[in-house]
């Protein structure tokens, strides 16, 4: 419960006790509006908040990061082909041919 809600409930409780028998109509209406607003806020935030909370959950990112790390090292360990590695391979091969001693 937030501080604001707690303060609101304290005030409502005070009013209820002070005016136990005859709660003024505008105060009662104010209390109803406040309850409606809280309920509406909760239902509005509910669905998207769940999805966003899941997306921004630290454990999801941590798992994703570790998976990326492992995949990167595995790909590198398996010497997966890449255009840059192929070009370096060509150059190394050319350097070998260039340096082959003539007998």
């Amino acid at each position: 419960m937030t501080d604001e809600n707690k303060t609101g409930l304290d005030v409502d409780d005070l009013l209820r006790r002070a005016l136990a028998d005859d709660l003024p109509a505008d105060v009662a209406a104010g209390m109803r509006r406040r309850i409606e607003r809280v309920r509406a806020g909760a239902t509005e935030k509910g669905a998207p908040a769940g999805a966003w909370a899941w997306l921004f959950r630290r454990s999801v990112w941590a798992a994703l990061a570790v998976l990326m790390l492992i995949a990167g090292f595995l790909l590198q360990g398996a010497r997966s082909r890449s255009p840059l590695a192929d070009r370096i391979l060509e150059l190394k091969a050319a350097a070998v041919n260039f340096e082959t001693p003539r007998s």
């Binding site: 890449s82 255009p83 070009r87 370096i88 260039f98």
Partner: protein, 348 residues
């Protein structure tokens, strides 16, 4: 009295900058160092530094830093912030220089050539961008040192804190997206694309797609991004932007060492494929770590300081900003040696 003292100081500062500009122009025009010219690299570094400044600082903060470097007076806090701007500019120039070398190096290797000799010359020219970055960093460190000294003196004199010089009081709330930052990121992306096009212009190629493919070595990208996120999460929100600096630098360092060990094993096994794969990993890991440092971690740290959430960058961040680009340069030299060193068959 203070006003009369201010004008000679400004005049002297302007005169010093003018003399320095004349000296560098004369050296450039003399042609004595024509072998040290890489126009695309120089353009990338200057425009990239402007973009990096915009990513971390707001327009009024940059203007104040320039005015105070030219001799304008200010409060201790304002002078301290301007000193941080110049320190950040020096850091950006140094990191961008190393990043430019890594990108240049990749393009030199990735474009077809007449042989190892031509590619070697292109790879050596790639190192010039680090040299430019170092020179620009030294130029930016001069006002940084001067202003931090002034700020220290002002603090000692017990000057009242004023924050109006930077366009208003320090904002406690962090606004992640500002027009300056968006402009900075757009300009930075444009500079990278423009530099690649300038570098490949005139070289034989079959279109821009092969260059894009050469620049993306996926194992290195996965390791750098995954490692940086994992380390930043492990350190938690309390570490702030420093977590990202540490994440990118440490992951980059791990990538460099992994690549070096794999390459050495390739030499031991006399396996050219393994060496080529390791060299590609070293170049890409260093490039993407530097990109993460300059485009993500450094601007976040700058905003923390300029928004008053931290007094200065941590010693560890400063260490990584200096050491990691230097390590990149050393590893690129090692890669160059590994690429051009021929392997002979055993018993041949």
């Amino acid at each position: 009295m203070a006003e009369t003292e201010k004008y000679p100081t400004r005049g002297q500062a302007a005169l010093r900058w003018l003399l320095a500009a004349i000296f560098f122009s004369a050296v450039g025009a003399s042609g004595a160092f024509s072998g040290l010219m890489n126009k695309a690299g120089l353009l990338y570094l200057v425009l990239g530094s402007v973009a990096a400044a915009l990513m971390g600082f707001r327009g009024p903060e940059i203007a104040t830093a320039f005015r105070q470097a030219a001799g304008q007076a200010g409060s201790a806090e304002s002078l301290g912030r301007s000193a941080h701007f110049w320190e950040a500019a020096a850091r950006n120039a140094w990191i961008l220089g190393a990043l430019g070398s890594a990108l240049n190096f990749t393009i030199a290797l990735g474009t077809p050539s007449d042989g190892i000799g031509e590619t070697s010359v292109r790879m050596i020219q790639a190192f010039l961008v680090t040299l430019y970055g170092l020179v620009l960093a030294v130029v930016c460190l001069v006002p940084a040192v001067k202003l931090s000294g002034k700020a220290e003196n002002a603090r000692r004199q017990g000057e009242a804190r004023q924050t109006a010089e930077t366009g208003g009081p320090a904002r406690a709330a962090f606004r992640a997206v500002t027009p300056d930052r968006i402009a900075g990121y757009v300009l930075f992306a444009a500079v990278l694309v423009l530099s690649v096009f300038l570098l490949v212009a005139g070289l034989p190629q079959t279109g821009p797609l092969p260059i894009a493919k050469v620049l993306l070595h996926w194992p290195a990208i996965l390791v750098v991004i995954g490692g940086a996120i994992a380390l930043a999460l492990f350190m938690g929100a309390g570490a702030g932007a420093r977590a990202w600096t540490l994440g990118f630098a440490m992951t980059g360092f791990v990538g460099l060492l992994t690549g070096l060990i794999q390459a050495l094993l390739g030499f031991a096994h006399r396996n050219i494929g393994e060496i080529a794969s390791a060299c590609a990993f070293i170049i890409s890991a260093s490039a993407f770590s530097l990109l993460g440092l300059v485009a993500a971690a450094a601007p976040l740290e700058d905003r923390e300081i300029m928004d008053g959430r931290r007094d200065k960058p941590s010693a560890l961040s400063r260490l990584f900003w200096v050491v990691f680009p230097l390590l990149t340069f050393i590893f690129l030299v090692l890669t160059f040696i590994m690429v051009v060193t021929p392997m002979t068959k055993p018993g041949g």
